[in-house]
Symmetry: C2
Subunit: 77 residues, 2 copies
Amino acid sequence: MQVRVLVRLKPGVLDPQGRAVHHALEGLGFEGVEDVRVGRLIELDLADGTDHDTIKAMCERLLANTVVESFTIEGAA
Amino acid sequence: MQVRVLVRLKPGVLDPQGRAVHHALEGLGFEGVEDVRVGRLIELDLADGTDHDTIKAMCERLLANTVVESFTIEGAA
């Protein structure tokens, strides 16, 4: 089974990478960019039947730093 | 409008970060992990009505290195 984990910085946490991308888009002439946030996309190919709690444990123990990051799990059974 | 861009390494391109995560998950005792790929999540807050071609141009010119990465745009009008 394919599972997608999205890891984002929590609101209020400074995102220098996002600011750099925002600035660069404006420098390239793109208008109307109001905000940019950069996070991680982690695609897991897991044994069928892996339960949501196991995936959540993977996120909490390794994939996300829950002090400053939040995560969402998509595509789990 | 909120747009989400997912940037992934193309199939066949070595993903050392994904391998490291895979190895670490096994080291933590998680079983049944078959593959892990790590990419980037870029969340854009754009002016309403920004068209798909503009967002595609942002990806091709800045957000993704299309030599080794592919991108998908989600949530665009």
